[in-house]
């Protein structure tokens, strides 16, 4: 377990504004090797914005990002990938009109001299797809648009896992998957953690996140309101973290509204 280890990635006071809208407000958050961190919160809470900053797609308006204690400034996603961060975005980051192989290696193409090493790209893709249980996708030249939602999601996750970097970030990785497919994704995440990667996943499904995360971080209106280890909390308790976040923003405490009210809200 990586909890307690020296952080590999650290955000200090990260703020992101879009025009007058504050999407993230002074976030301090660290991820260590060998842990799975679940980011939870309502829609618009800032989880995906944080993921986009961690993956270099957005640049913070204020605040700093550190990798292994050294400050870094990602100008784009390529910088983050070079630093060792692979991301599966909510939209899966796949180009529908391109083949499976070309999508798999997009932005990290294998070369032989000035040309694409398509043979090696095909072989590597095939190997990885076998590993993630999609070995039946024989036609790797087919467009991604021809795949089902589950297959597309698996390709996107498989691509991130295949590159074996230092940190794996997944934004809603199981939203289009069946129970069996979801379990497979969790297995990947656990394997990545056991290999010493920091794994960060954004999830709406609280039942799922408690199955896989070692630590929960709750976002509310662009702020980090809870950061606790997974000690077997139930779904209701996780939901109550979100409610507590709302209460703390309103300046109310748990005691002020009463445990019963809190539980009722969480059940809702």
């Amino acid at each position: 377990m990586g909890v307690g280890l020296k952080p590999w990635f650290e955000a200090r006071g990260v703020t992101k504004t879009f025009g007058g809208v504050v999407a993230l407000d002074g976030i301090d958050l660290a991820f260590s090797p060998g842990e799975i961190v679940g980011l939870i919160g309502d829609n618009g809470s800032g989880k995906s914005t944080f993921v986009k900053i961690a993956s270099g797609v957005y640049q913070p308006t204020r605040g700093q990002v550190f990798i292994e204690g050294k400050e870094v400034r990602f100008r784009n996603a390529a910088d983050a990938r070079r630093a060792g961060i692979e991301t599966v975005h909510q939209d899966l980051g796949l180009v529908d009109s391109m083949s499976i192989v070309r999508n798999f290696f997009l932005g990290a193409e294998l070369r032989r001299g000035p040309f694409l090493d398509l043979r090696r790209m095909r072989a590597e893709t095939n190997k990885m797809l076998e590993e993630i249980g999609l070995g039946n996708l024989r036609d790797l030249g087919q467009d991604v648009s021809r795949l089902s939602g589950g297959e597309r999601q698996a390709i996107s996750i498989g691509r991130a896992v295949a590159f074996e970097k230092k940190m794996l970030v997944l934004d809603e990785p199981t939203s289009a998957l069946s129970i069996a497919e979801t379990e497979k994704v969790f297995e990947f995440m656990r394997r990545a953690r056991d290999r010493g990667l920091a794994v960060v996943c954004v999830m709406h499904n609280l039942a799922q996140v408690r199955d896989v995360a070692d630590r929960f971080v709750v976002f509310w209106h662009g702020k980090k309101v809870v950061d606790v280890a997974n000690e077997g909390q139930g779904e209701e308790e996780l939901a109550s973290y979100i409610i507590k976040g709302k209460l703390s923003e309103l300046g109310l405490s748990e005691n002020a509204v009463g445990t019963g009210v809190l539980r009722a809200l969480a059940q809702e």
Binding site: D96, M98, L106, G107, E109, L116, S148
Partner: protein, 349 residues
């Protein structure tokens, strides 16, 4: 074959049901399925049909070697412009200024040659102007976040106006002896074959290899197919888009130089319809208007079909005034065909 690997079916809704086990309405005929997956297959079939029909209607004059020498020569300059326009459309952008670029760049070259500057230096200046026009189009589109349709419509008017101001509307003619370089660009190689045909096909092959076999080519498809995914994958999207504009500009200027080599003269009125014809040829050849799909094989076949129509209608005794009308019909029919065949291959809707 130039390149056909990345030219699959029309886009399906994201995450659509089906997947690997999906069967198409074509059943299990793998060869037919694979052929239909190439967007060029249908349009090559249309080209063959047009060839047969015009050959029958023209009493053997259409399919003569002499006529094909004329068709390919007439198509070459438009063909070179179309290579650039198709590349740009694959990257999700348009360039309506290629016609103005074509005449302005070549006019500067013509004036320099006329004034006894070394022809090689004049060609370099011509290509540099083309690259500069493309660079301006790209930077303005990317940095100011303006649709390229608007940016290049503006630069089309700008460069057309500048060309008229520079030349006063006069044709610039290179007097004999013709410099060797101009013969290399557009002279007769042997019989009916002019060098411009080789330039056209050679450039199509070269750009086809870049598109299909290099990282930059992969990025052109990605940026045009889904820009957000390209950003998330770390593709240098802005640089790739600007590069596509520059390549398109250089190719338009080179087409102008080739025409100067062929005709020995250049005028502001030359190439004025090329922007629309090049877009039409690209679309007929399978380039998607929204980007992400297309090929150099399609760009060549699309151009050839337009040239065949031009020649075939005249030799079949049809008034040449019908040319635009027929191109319009073929354009819409080609898009409908690409869409329908794509759906048939997907086996869904």
């Amino acid at each position: 074959m130039l390149d056909v690997a990345n030219t699959g079916t029309s886009p399906a809704p994201a995450g659509g049901a089906g997947g690997t086990a999906r069967t198409s309405r074509l059943g299990g005929n793998a060869l037919v399925f694979r052929l239909l997956r190439q967007r060029e297959t249908g349009i090559i079939a249309v080209g063959i049909v047009l060839f047969v029909v015009f050959s029958l209607l023209s009493n053997g004059t259409f399919d003569s070697v002499q006529n094909w020498g004329g068709i390919t020569s007439a198509a070459a300059e438009l063909g070179i412009v179309t290579i650039g326009v198709a590349l740009l459309m694959i990257s999700g952008e348009f360039d309506l200024s290629v016609g103005a670029n074509f005449s302005f760049s070549a006019l500067v070259m013509a004036i320099m040659v006329q004034d006894h500057y070394p022809p090689g230096a004049a060609l370099v200046v011509c290509l540099a102007i083309g690259a500069g026009i493309g660079l301006v189009n790209g930077v303005v589109t990317v940095v100011l976040d303006i649709p390229s349709f608007i940016t290049t419509l503006g630069t089309f008017f700008l460069w057309t106006g500048v060309t008229l101001i520079v030349t006063g509307g006069e044709t610039v003619t290179i007097l004999p002896p013709t410099p060797t370089l101009l013969n290399v660009l557009g002279g007769v190689l042997s019989g009916q074959v002019r060098s411009e045909l080789l330039w056209w096909l050679g450039l199509a092959l070269a750009v086809g290899v870049v598109l299909q076999r290099t990282v930059t080519g992969n990025w052109f498809f990605a940026v045009g197919g889904k820009r957000s995914a390209a950003v998330e994958a770390g593709v240098p999207v802005a640089r790739t888009r600007v590069l596509a504009f520059v390549a398109c500009g250089v190719l338009a200027a080179f087409a102008g130089a080739v025409q100067l080599g062929h005709l020995g003269s250049m005028s502001a009125s030359f190439g004025t319809t090329y922007q629309l014809e090049a877009i039409a040829a690209s679309v007929v050849g399978g380039c998607a208007l929204m980007g992400g799909r297309g090929s150099m094989l399609g760009a060549v076949v699309g151009t050839l079909i337009l040239a065949m129509l031009d020649s075939g209608l005249i030799l079949s005794g049809v008034s040449p005034y019908w040319y635009e009308a027929v191109v319009g019909v073929i354009l819409v029919a080609a898009v409908a065909m690409h869409t329908r065949v794509g759906r048939l291959v997907r086996g869904g809707d």
